[in-house]
């Protein structure tokens, strides 16, 4: 009864894939779930601490020239292809599908990201989260989590260096999962005051009765947990559990 009440009290926001901002620059094709660069929608400035969710396709051999960031936690998740990362911290590294890259930009970082392959596009999610500490010493991290086990959520990011996955300066937890059709699971929100922004990478899902297709985003808050069912085989989802008040 109590759980039922909790579910009915949950608040939600749906961002269908086709309603995202879109930028086509030739070398870069990007869809923005939230206001970014030339896309401005005052109703889509963030989901709590989650400020940017860009779905980027970078043409072969092209990329983002060196540019700065500060006071932002930046997470990149390659979906196809490889990116070559360089920064002024001395890192020069390839990020490939299955990796998770994190930059805590703090007092300031200059970096570039290029498609490492000249002959095929690179696809990746670029995610920015407001930090809970200002002016930290910049840091770079890259992990290759074991995501081979289907039908379970894999934690790839948390606030804790000694927990599963990588970590950032924010009370945020990210989980990735790939599911068989009709597999159902429950995700428990990690911290009171957090909400979950679910982003469907591939296939279709039902979350708390809301059907979602590929690249749809769905924010849920004022609840302790969410119920998730895959509606297709090999359906993939990213859950971002973030503070509603950064």
């Amino acid at each position: 009864m109590f759980q039922q009440m909790k579910r009915t009290m949950a608040k939600t926001i749906l961002h269908k894939a086709a309603t995202r901002g879109h930028a086509a620059h030739g070398w870069l094709d990007s869809h923005h779930s939230f206001s970014f660069a030339g896309y401005y929608n005052p109703d889509r400035m963030s989901f709590g601490a989650l400020r940017v969710l860009n779905d980027d396709i970078v043409a072969g051999g092209r990329g983002f020239d060196t540019h700065p960031h500060d006071n932002m936690e930046i997470i990149s998740i390659p979906l196809e292809g490889d990116l070559e990362h360089k920064d002024n911290l001395g890192n020069k590294i390839i990020i490939k599908q299955g990796d998770i890259q994190v930059m805590s930009t703090g007092t300031g970082v200059f970096h570039s990201e290029y498609n490492a392959n000249p002959d095929r596009p690179a696809k990746f999610l670029q995610i920015w989260v407001f930090p809970n500490q200002l002016n930290v010493q910049p840091r770079y991290d890259q992990i290759t989590p074991d995501l081979t086990q289907k039908n379970q959520l894999h934690q790839v990011l948390s606030p804790y260096p000694d927990d599963a996955g990588t970590w950032i300066y924010q009370a945020a937890w990210f989980n990735l999962g790939r599911f068989d059709k009709d597999f159902a699971t429950t995700y428990h929100i990690q911290k009171p005051g957090n909400g979950v922004y679910a982003f469907v990478i591939k296939g279709r899902f039902d979350i708390n009765g809301q059907e979602l297709a590929a690249r749809d985003g769905f924010g849920i808050w004022d609840t302790d947990s969410i119920s998730l069912t895959a509606l297709e085989s090999d359906a993939e989802i990213l859950l971002m559990d973030v503070p509603l008040k950064p």
Binding site: D70, N71, M72, G108, F130, N135
Partner: protein
């Protein structure tokens, strides 16, 4: 929503990033601005001219921010003073539009 020309002052401690901010603040036709790295330079800028928005950028500590906001508010009571996150790339344009819309 405010229309017309917007003057923006940015204060941060990272010289390289503030150099980029200087360029970004003066790129749109409807903006002009100044990016500075010291509080004194910010006070001088405000004494020399009016600004609509003041951005507090990376490197300013919470303690510095309290004192800075007090002094900036006294010098420019009509200006919006806000924290800027991200270093300019990607967010600056729509953050400014959002502030102007709320004004």
């Amino acid at each position: 929503m405010t229309t017309g020309h917007t003057k923006i002052l940015a204060i941060g401690r990272n010289e390289e990033i503030m150099t980029v901010m200087q360029r970004l603040l003066n790129a749109p036709e409807d903006w002009s601005g100044q990016a500075v790295t010291t509080d004194e330079a910010a006070y001088e800028a405000l004494q020399a001219g009016a600004y609509d928005i003041i951005l507090l950028c990376a490197g300013i500590t919470a303690e510095e921010e309290t004192a800075l906001r007090e002094r900036l508010s006294a010098l420019a009571p009509a200006a919006i003073i806000t924290r800027h996150y991200g270093g300019g790339s990607g967010l600056l344009r729509n953050e400014i539009l959002f502030l102007l819309e709320k004004k």
